[in-house]
């Protein structure tokens, strides 16, 4: 069985930023858009290397999305990043019409995803962005599990996609554990661990926690498979259905509302072709709050202990969401 090693903690926003710079080196038509929080969202790597291709647009997200559309209509590949709460919600109508209806190739980076943002509290913790972005026609939604895949995701989004893309990533340094060489392909889930009793399908930071939870469950005789669902749209339906058929039970884990996000997407997929019990772990219809990231993860049961405990209770017949 594959054991994953933490190569060292690293924020996925840093991975995203490094990926943008790498992509820009190769693609001269890449243009970066800044809305004031350039360093905070990892765009400074690009802005410092390519100042002539970086446009400062001020704290004005709606205009930035429109500008991205105009650039894309002129053969540029715009990359725009801000906090996920603003990217996905403040400019929602611009994303829907100017980007998605026009089906334009633009990358939106949604930083500070989830409650692991910590002390900034509810206003800055993106917990509904996946839900709002994945219902939009033409949109691709990616939620990389670590810094390495955040970099690969944005490079691949620039290189091989042709429509609008939303990539969410976190603020905190977390385990960076995937291998650069390991095949990462947008739209293709990765099974990181085998197991016959159930499958944990996780996204973002929760993939590492799911791997640790699976190890804990193993000690009590529960063999849990783990899937890294880094692309939420288009969802790798084959991987979901295979997991449902082979293990009979699915647990989804995400730093996002359990309605509308990964759990909902997996449930929608399985309900048509392989209905099995699905436990959705995440945020249950509440806003975030201030606190240390680990305190918030603990409260919402989104660390390895919380995940394994919830799974054990669920297997014992307790009614969970």
């Amino acid at each position: 069985m594959n054991e994953f090693q933490n190569k060292g903690d690293k924020a996925s926003r840093t991975g995203f930023g490094e990926g943008v710079k790498l992509a820009a080196t190769k693609h001269k038509q890449l243009v970066g858009l800044g809305v004031d929080i350039t360093q905070s969202v990892g765009m400074h790597f690009f802005a410092e290397a390519f100042p002539e291709r970086f446009l400062s647009l001020g704290i004005a997200e709606q205009n930035a999305i429109g500008v991205a559309a105009g650039l894309a209509l002129s053969g540029k590949i715009p990359v725009f990043a801000t906090y996920g709460v603003f990217a996905a919600h403040r400019a929602a109508d611009q994303i829907r019409i100017s980007l998605c209806y026009n089906n334009l190739h633009a990358i939106i980076g949604g930083a500070h995803a989830g409650i692991s943002v910590g002390p900034d509290g509810a206003t800055h913790q993106a917990l509904e962005d996946i839900a709002c972005m994945r219902v939009l026609p033409n949109m691709t939604v990616i939620s990389p599990c670590d810094a390495t895949q955040a970099s690969l995701a944005v490079q691949q989004a620039v290189e091989s996609l042709t429509g609008p893309v939303y990539i969410r990533f976190g603020r905190e340094a977390v385990p960076d554990f995937t291998d650069e060489q390991q095949s990462f392909e947008i739209g293709k889930a990765q099974r990181l661990r085998a197991g016959k009793n159930l499958t944990i399908i996780a996204t973002g930071h929760m993939v590492w926690e799911a791997l640790q939870a699976a190890k804990m469950l193993e000690k009590s005789g529960i063999a849990a498979a783990v899937i890294n669902m880094h692309t939420i749209k288009p969802l790798d339906e084959k991987a979901c259905l295979q997991a449902a058929r082979e293990t009979g039970r699915i647990v989804t884990v995400e730093e996002h509302q359990i309605t509308g996000g990964l759990g909902a997407a997996v449930a929608e997929c399985c309900s048509s072709h392989a209905p099995v019990p699905i436990l959705r772990l995440g945020i249950n219809d509440s806003f975030g709050e201030s606190g240390k990231p680990e305190e918030l993860m603990q409260k919402h049961g989104l660390n390895s202990e919380g995940i394994s405990a919830a799974i054990t209770r669920w297997l014992n017949g307790e009614l969970l969401p």
């Binding site: 243009v31 002539e52 291709r53 446009l55 647009l57 001020g58 004005a60 709606q62 205009n63 930035a64 999305i65 429109g66 500008v67 991205a68 559309a69 105009g70 650039l71 894309a72 209509l73 002129s74 053969g75 540029k76 715009p78 109508d93 611009q94 829907r96 019409i97 100017s98 209806y101 026009n102 089906n103």
Partner: protein, 273 residues
């Protein structure tokens, strides 16, 4: 001059015909913009109707997608597609969507739009791309006056001046009306020219039905090498058909089969043709 007046007349004629065939749509704003569209497509824009994706073409973004009938009529008369197709406006399967939609394949449509407040930002993105590429073509954006109540428009106005996009020219259809009534009653816009000026734009106020004034304003805009230009064009909603003129109830209405011949007649008389 006479030729452009004749073009504007034909644009208006096809607006009325296509709206009547559709049975719904926006007559008032479409008729009011006919003179400006005639000047743009038959005088000002560098474009090739037979080669809609010509990389050197000037681009026009219609932010107020609901006046699509004026754009469609103009594009057809300019040769982008046959005028007969105008009668398919708003029909199922038609390339002439209620609001312009690129994916339906009508040539000459630069942007799918219709949600107010977005077009100027997109036009700005185009102008910024051209500046980066040192492409000297120009971008035009048609805005409604009521639309200026959307905050995002002012984000774009601020950013265009900041980036010195002199290759961008906005036209505000200042007919003073919106769906609920006069713009000043619904949400005051005045002093409008002062607002644009203070945001850093080269601001010209013109009569939006005076062909020479429109022509001269576009020429002046091209001379400006620092600031973006806005033409605040005073227009009459429904211009050319007295029954419709200045009546905000005609913002979102189409003529009936019975009204059409009367309106076409009015049109001929009012323009002295």
């Amino acid at each position: 001059m006479e030729q452009l007046r004749q073009k504007a007349f034909e644009i208006r004629k096809y607006i009325l015909k296509s709206l009547t065939a559709a049975g719904s749509g926006h007559a008032g704003g479409s008729l009011g913009l006919a003179d400006i569209f005639a000047v743009l497509y038959f005088h000002q824009l560098r474009h090739r109707p037979q080669q809609p994706d010509w990389p050197q073409r000037d681009r026009l973004v219609l932010s107020i997608g609901h006046v699509a009938p004026v754009l469609y009529a103009t594009l057809a008369l300019a040769g982008y597609f046959p005028t007969e197709e105008l009668l398919q406006l708003r029909q199922f399967g038609s390339r002439l969507q209620g609001h312009p939609g690129r994916e339906h394949g009508l040539p000459g449509i630069e942007l799918s739009a219709g949600s107010l407040g977005q077009g100027l930002s997109v036009a700005l993105g185009m102008a910024l791309a051209d500046k980066m590429d040192q492409n000297d073509r120009r971008t035009y954006c048609i805005l409604g006056d009521g639309e200026l109540q959307e905050g995002s428009v002012w984000e774009a106005i601020m950013a265009a001046a900041h980036h010195r996009c002199h290759n961008l020219c906005a036209v505000v259809d200042r007919n003073g009306l919106q769906i609920d009534g006069s713009t000043e009653a619904v949400m005051q816009l005045e002093p409008l020219a002062e607002k644009w000026r203070s945001f850093g734009w080269n601001t010209l106020e013109i009569n939006g039905h005076h062909i020479t004034e429109i022509k001269e304003a576009f020429a002046k805009a091209e001379m400006e090498k620092q600031k973006p230009t806005v033409l605040i064009a005073k227009t009459i909603m429904g211009k050319g058909v007295s029954t419709i003129e200045n009546d905000y109830r005609w913002h979102g209405k189409a003529p009936s089969e019975q009204e059409l011949p009367l309106f076409l007649n009015e049109l001929k008389n009012s323009l002295g043709l």
